[in-house]
């Protein structure tokens, strides 16, 4: 398999004209999200010079692309909703049938995803969930409810951190109320606004990058967080427990996309095939502590990661909900609710 990939790679590189330096690959990626050894491995395997720049939010990626970086990078790693937005903005190239040899390695449930039906532009990178983590020293009751954030028990009031992220907070609040995202129903939006206004006095802070730290230090007893980040927090403070609420929780997936006008399109496809190899996907998972969307990865993981409660929802947990992409008029209503919350 690997041999054939290498042969194809050599052919493609020859065609694309990189006879001497054997070509390049330019990656635009999140910070601290891929192990350097994996990049070195790809570079050695295909004799490609790999360069990588990093960004720190989906919005920053979009702003850079809209600001004239099209044609500079081959691949990027947007989150689910951003794949949809970037495709709509014409920033993504289409992967034709048969261009990815390992496309069959994508887990069946991640092939026909709503944000990229049929995987025309992207492959799965890592996925995970957004929910919250509770310090069991501070609270021993049932934590599997979103009321922990939006209608908390009295003893937790003032000890709650939420992410400083409009999409995730409003989507989790919608799950708590049982209303759909991107609704333009005025009564539902008023209810959402009221819920947040009443919950805010119980919240201590809106912190994203320190979401792990506030929990580890005990500054917050409850904190919204991503599952892999919570696993890292638990390794520093054993009394932390990640919750999969019965009302639902948020799911997200980061995806490697083929960018429009990629200068090294052939190498970009090689790289995507490379990341779809189970052993390489497992290497990313070990590094980031989330979950790959590639078949055959699980068996390759370390025992600790396999058993991680953050990565294994309880059997009765509902499936995660993705943050929806709203149209402009609806989005403006949600923006107003967020501003109203933080005014």
């Amino acid at each position: 398999m690997k041999k054939s990939v290498a042969v194809i790679a050599a052919c493609l590189l020859f065609v694309s004209g990189g006879a001497l330096a054997a070509g390049k690959l330019s990656i635009y990626h999140w910070f601290e999200y891929i192990p350097q050894e994996l990049l070195d491995k790809f570079a050695a395997q295909h004799d490609v010079e790999v360069t990588m720049d990093t960004y720190d939010s989906n919005e920053a990626l979009l702003a850079a692309m809209k600001g004239g970086k099209v044609g500079q990078y081959d691949v990027a790693v947007p989150g689910d909703y951003m794949v949809e937005i970037m495709a709509a903005e014409g920033l993504l190239d289409t992967i034709a049938d048969g261009e990815l040899k390992n496309k069959g390695n994508i887990q069946p449930e991640w092939v026909d995803v709503s944000f990229d039906p049929g995987r025309m532009h992207s492959i799965p990178y890592q996925w995970g969930s957004t929910s919250f983590t509770v310090n069991r020293d501070a609270y021993s009751g049932d934590i599997r409810t979103t009321a922990m954030i939006f209608d908390p028990p009295a003893e937790l009031s003032g000890k709650i951190n939420v992410l400083d992220s409009q999409g995730e907070v409003l989507a989790l609040a919608s799950l708590h109320l049982g209303i759909e995202q991107c609704t333009s129903d005025k009564d539902k939006l008023r209810a959402l606004n009221d819920l947040l206004q009443n919950a805010k006095p119980h919240w201590a802070s809106f912190i994203s990058d320190g979401a792990k730290d506030v929990l580890v230090s005990g500054e917050a007893a409850v904190g919204m967080i991503w599952n892999g980040f919570s696993a890292k927090a638990r390794s520093e403070n054993a009394s932390l427990e990640y919750s999969y609420p019965k009302e639902g929780y948020l799911a997200w997936m980061d995806n490697v996309v083929l960018l429009m006008d990629a200068p090294n399109r052939a190498n970009a496809l090689l790289f995507m095939d490379f990341l779809l190899e189970p052993e390489n996907a497992a290497a990313v998972t070990e590094f980031a502590q989330y979950t790959a969307g590639v078949t055959g990865t699980y068996e390759l993981l370390s025992e600790g990661l396999k058993a991680s409660p953050e990565l294994n929802p309880p059997a009765d947990a509902p499936p995660g909900t993705f943050v929806a992409v709203c149209d402009q008029a609806t989005q403006e209503l949600y923006d107003a609710i967020w501003t109203n919350l933080k005014k």
């Binding site: 939010s57 919005e59 920053a60 979009l62 702003a63 809209k66 937005i85 903005e89 951190n161 400083d164 409009q166 999409g167 005025k186 939006l189 008023r190 606004n193 805010k200 919240w203 201590a204 802070s205 809106f206 912190i207 230090s217 005990g218 500054e219 402009q328 989005q331 403006e332 209503l333 923006d335 107003a336 609710i337 967020w338 501003t339 109203n340 933080k342 005014k343």
Partner: protein, 314 residues
Amino acid sequence: MSASSSHPASGKPHGVFAGLRNWLLLPSWSIICIFVLAPIAIMLVYSFLTKEFRGGVIWEFTFAAYDQFFLNRGLFGDEPVKIEWTYINIFWRSIWQALLATVICLLIGFPTAYYIATRPASTRTIWLFMVTVPYWVNLLIRTVSMKFLIRDNGPINEWLLALDMINEPIHLINTPIAVQLGLFYSYLPFMVLPLYASIERYDHSLSEAAADLYASKWFTLWHIIVPSVKPGIVAGCILVFIPSLGAFLAPDLLGGAKNFMIGSLIEEQFKGTAGNWPFGAAASMILLSAVLLVLMWYARSTSRARTKRGRGSE
């Protein structure tokens, strides 16, 4: 006082720069034009453009951004027009915090600067040096350190608890008091240094003369010292007030980012999900106008002080 500090400044360049007077400002004028005036002009234009969904602008003239800032049409835009207090309140909160930081800096900075200025010349340098020491460490790191110090189970609370001075931890983190702490701490040297420069030039024989004429210490302070060092006070206040107004590190890290301040509101317009560039530009222009008003007031008060001093010495 030393001879050098009382050297008369004539305002006209002599010697090597003779004949070059108009060209001396060329470097600073070009920098101001390219890196200050041009971006402000772009911002002004953008604030009157139509926003593009998810960042960017459409080249159609509109007052929508200013309308959004000042007028409230309800969540769904179908209610009668009222004054929008949301953004005015955010501005007011920032201004109030910045004013308070300025006053606290002045109260702490004045005695400090006075103390340093009245030391022998040899030790003065050491004191001044010590005032600048915190500035060798990045502001972000200092703010994060302060967060660690004041949290509920941080060292300050633990010491106070261990010494039985308090029964419950003092809850400071994520409150406006913590934000204030971060603000005045960050900008204190900006107050001390100009105050020192003024007080150092103050002629202490004036205080002695006042005492000889039976003026009380308070009278001497208010009617002799403060008017003499007023340029330093005004400069220090401006230097503390303006950066405090746009600060977003302290509100985000110490205040828990619970409430927008001017800085974070504007940042959100360019980096957040909403991506409303014209509104961010409009908010910046409104802030800029407010700051310009303060600076004009400063310019007027210093020129008045200068003419007064000029008359006094003639």
